[in-house]
Amino acid sequence: MDSWVIAMMLGVSIFLGAIALVAFLWGIKSGQFDDEQKFLNAVKFDTQEDLNDAVAQEKKYKEMKKKNYTPE
């Protein structure tokens, strides 16, 4: 067996793992795991409606921000 096969497999698997790690770090940083109960409940109970609400809320924030924007 050529050693480059080992090198490639190691490289690919560590790279894939690193992607998962980065996603996890992003999750922690953006506060998604701050409230463990909310996080778990969301998995159990969130409906389509709740997701729509969340999107609507984000939109609302952006719109308000635009309206509120005053160049300095």
């Binding site: 190691l10 909310k38 924030y61």
Partner: protein
């Protein structure tokens, strides 16, 4: 016959004849009915599906005007602007019972125009709300929360809490990276060790080394950054700590391994680099995780301070901020309000709840020219009083500032592992240097001497030492929490194990906290339902005790006429023309009734520690009940166990001498003090400290908080007041004293195991370090012994469980 039905909103069950019937729905009060219709109109009634059968608290009346929240002073203190120019406030929401409540609050607020973002934490009910202040004011937000049956009050999300969270999050990130890398390095290391035995090509070995090196780099530079920082501070203050040992050890190993990889000879030790950092980081993380912030406590405490009072100026009532009130101002207090300043009663009379100061739930009757104290709550009194002190000098704000001081200056017993690791690190670094120079001058080359010196540092692996305390305490905490004992900080187990004095509060800690009927004298037959209906009209603990005593399945509740509270004496009422009186001896005498036992002259002289309650129907006394706040069932036995551990037990109480004596005697406590104010309790603890004692204090009330904060370990009952739970270090969820003695047992056992763990890891080092210095350590032995020492410590810690299998 009436039967019980549940309220459609709050699900509490009452007899159907007292319920409000609204179509097919039943409501227990107007408040619940209002909320139900509001939710229905707003299209939020799917809340009831989500809530299921959860019992909610019915809405309570709000005394504080929500418009107060719009004052500039209030905005100054609590509202901040975020970077997009929106207002931001942190609120604690009261009355949240389940996830449906959180959903309802978030949903209802989102529906309001101008509210941008609402985020409510399920665990601590703290909410962060962002809104556009040009569209709506904070008062409308608070009004909305109140309208749907909850209450909200703001808290100062002070820097301290934010900083503690940030530190925790920082550790999470570093841990995630370290654990990810270590797990991957380990399976590569498996290949390498397999190759070590069965033979391996040099080029494959190099590939494995490079892969390990790539994984070890972020661990050393990112996760290990904490150790570099710690080492830097240690050097700056000219001291040696474990951080220096970890930092130098891992850095040297890392550099050496790169050198090995580049020159393709010998064995690389990247796995040791990641392992040491991950393990020691784990130990540190366990400590950070359990740090509590002082900030939270003070938030809750300041919620107990009313923000404004009603001052009478020129015959008119004016709302004033508490800090603007001057001495001699006339202040009006209505029932249910909290007194903000100390003063003298000028007009009116009524009962006050002084449990904040004495711990006793029995109301105190105040009349003209009596002193009233800030922090007490008016139960039924409408009075005018003259302020004798301004707010800054009043009892309540004194208490807050004393508390602040006490929590900041809590005595800390230095942690044993830290003490040992200081010496340990210095000794190891010294040994490594000695080894290096000895080998350099005689008999070998630079390369060989460098390698041996590094092997000393690697073999002296601080893993076992770093894990000795956290793992043992973690096991101890696990056992404790399964028994309903919550330690807020892991290190407190160690402190508690060394304690030699236990100070106990009486009411609610040793005793049940509410009077129970201990003796009944029936002079004449009467309908128990009459008395039951009468005492239902009072909130006095004695009345509650009687109601509880009388309650049986077939007792019924009658609607009485002319129910009157007679302050400090009792109450009266009428049913079908029968006039009834219930109350103490004085009430009976003032009504001119003949008290059956009062003929006994000796009895009247003797002050009984039992509270007495007489019941009279149609001008004839028919029954007498004696009530006493009895000690908990397991009190005597548990106190005996604690004493047998060589711990001195002392009882401090705000109650009178007679009942203190009785309780102390019943549970077997010799040393006790009665009639103590909160400050006196804390002074007593200070006195014990000055004698060099390590003090554990157990209490439950607001009057105990100063003492709890000041003691080395404060223990509160799970049913105690929120502030007491917050101030204390340990919470006993099941309120029993047997869990208090368990807490002592567990902490002592854990402490013993910590000592054993430290001894084990030092013993391990005593054997391996001389071998390493002599240059006999081969890579395999280093790796095995390193893992073995850590496993040994973990395995030994698990032995704490033995003896706690129930």
């Amino acid at each position: 016959m009436s039967h019980k039905v549940g309220c459609t909103h709050c699900h509490l069950e009452f007899n159907d004849d007292v319920m409000i019937v609204d179509g097919e729905h039943y409501f227990c009060c107007k408040g619940c009915q209002g909320i139900y219709h509001l939710l229905k109109d707003e299209g939020l009634d799917s809340f009831y599906n989500k809530a299921g059968d959860t019992k909610l608290s019915p809405p309570t009346e709000q005394y504080e005007d929500s418009l107060n929240f719009n004052s500039p002073a209030f905005y100054d203190k609590f509202v901040s602007l975020n970077k997009d120019g929106f207002s931001e406030v942190s609120l604690i929401i009261e009355g949240i019972h389940c996830s449906a409540c959180v959903w309802l609050n978030e949903k209802a607020l989102h529906k309001m125009a101008g509210v941008i973002s609402v985020n409510i934490n399920y665990t601590n009910n703290k909410a962060k709300i962002i809104w556009d202040d040009t569209v709506l004011k904070l008062s409308s937000i608070i009004d909305m929360i109140r309208a749907i049956g909850y209450n909200a009050f703001p808290y100062d999300a002070s820097l301290q809490e934010v900083r503690a969270n940030k530190e925790r999050k920082d550790y999470y990130l570093r841990m995630a990276v370290a654990i990810f890398a270590t797990m991957n390095v380990m399976w590569i290391a498996v290949a390498q060790y397999a190759g070590y035995f069965t033979g391996i090509n040099q080029d494959v070995k190099t590939i494995l080394n490079i892969a390990e090196g790539v994984l070890a780099t972020p661990v050393l530079l990112y996760s290990g950054w904490i150790f570099y920082r710690g080492a830097y501070y240690a050097i700056k203050t000219k001291s040696v700590n474990m951080d220096i040992l970890v930092a130098t050890g891992s850095t040297l190993t890392y550099i050496y391994s790169i050198y090995i990889t580049a020159y393709e000879r010998g064995e690389a030790y990247f796995d040791s680099v990641t392992m040491i950092i991950t393990f020691v980081l784990l130990g540190k993380f366990l400590e950070v995780l359990s740090k509590k912030s002082v900030a939270d406590t003070l938030d809750i405490m300041s919620n107990h301070v009313p923000s404004s009072v009603k001052v009478i100026e020129d015959g008119k009532i004016v709302e004033k901020r508490i800090n603007d009130v001057k001495v001699k101002d006339l202040i009006f207090v209505s029932s249910g309000e909290r007194v903000a300043l100390d003063g003298l009663v000028i007009e009116g009379e009524g009962n006050f709840d002084e449990s904040n100061l004495t711990g006793e739930s029995e109301p105190v009757y105040k009349k003209i020219s009596d002193k009233i104290i800030s922090g007490t709550v008016s139960i039924d009194a409408q009075i005018k009083y003259e302020a004798t002190k301004d707010f800054a000098h009043s009892t309540l704000s004194n208490l807050v500032s004393l508390l602040e001081g006490a929590m900041g200056n809590k005595p800390r017993i230095q942690i044993m592992a830290n003490r040992i690791s200081e010496y340990f690190s210095a000794v190891i670094l010294g040994f490594a240097l000695i080894t290096f120079f000895t080998w350099w001058f005689w008999p070998h080359s630079f390369e060989r001497s460098f390698m041996v010196a590094i092997s000393v540092i690697i073999i002296a692996c601080p893993c076992a030492l770093a894990l000795a305390t956290p793992v043992a305490t973690l096991v101890g905490l696990g056992i404790a929490s399964r028994r309903g004992i919550l330690f807020k900080q892991a290190l407190q187990l160690e402190t508690m194990a060394q304690a030699n004095v236990l100070v106990l509060d009486k009411t609610g800690t040793i005793t049940q906290g509410k009077p129970k009927v201990v003796q009944t004298h029936i002079y004449d037959d009467f309908d128990h339902s009459l008395l039951y209906s009468l005492v239902q009209n009072s909130k006095h603990p004695v009345a509650k005790g009687i109601a509880e005593f009388l309650y049986t399945e077939d007792i019924s509740y009658f609607e009485l006429q002319n129910v009157k509270q007679i302050p400090a004496l009792g109450l009266s009422g009428e049913y079908l023309g029968k006039k009834m009186f219930g109350g103490n001896l004085k009430l009976m005498e003032s009504e001119g009734l003949i008290v059956p036992n009062s003929t006994d002259a000796n009895n009247t002289l003797h002050v009984s520690s039992n509270s007495e309650f007489y019941f009279a129907v149609d001008a004839k006394i028919v029954a007498k009940y004696e009530l006493f706040d009895t000690p908990k069932a397991d009190a005597k036995e548990s106190i005996g166990i604690i004493k047998s551990m060589g711990i001195e037990v002392i009882m401090l109480t705000g109650d009178h001498l007679s009942s203190a004596k009785k309780v102390a005697h019943e549970v077997g406590i010799e040393i006790f003090e009665s009639d103590l104010t909160p400050e006196a309790k804390s002074l007593y603890i200070q006195k014990l400290h000055n004698e060099g004692k390590i003090v554990v204090m157990a209490g439950d009330g607001v009057n105990d908080i100063l003492a709890l904060a000041l003691a080395d370990i404060g223990i509160s009952m799970g049913s105690g007041s929120d502030i007491a739970i917050d101030v204390s270090d340990v919470v006993l969820l099941n309120d029993t004293l047997s869990s208090l003695s368990d807490a002592f047992k567990i902490s002592k056992r854990t402490y013993f195991m910590i000592k054993q763990n430290l001894a084990l890891s030092l013993l391990y080092n005593a054997i391996t370090i001389p071998l390493a210095m002599a240059g006999y350590i081969i890579p395999l032995l280093a790796a095995i012994s390193m893992s073995f020492s850590s496993l040994m410590v973990v395995g030994n810690s698990l032995r704490i469980r033995a003896g706690f299998k129930k």
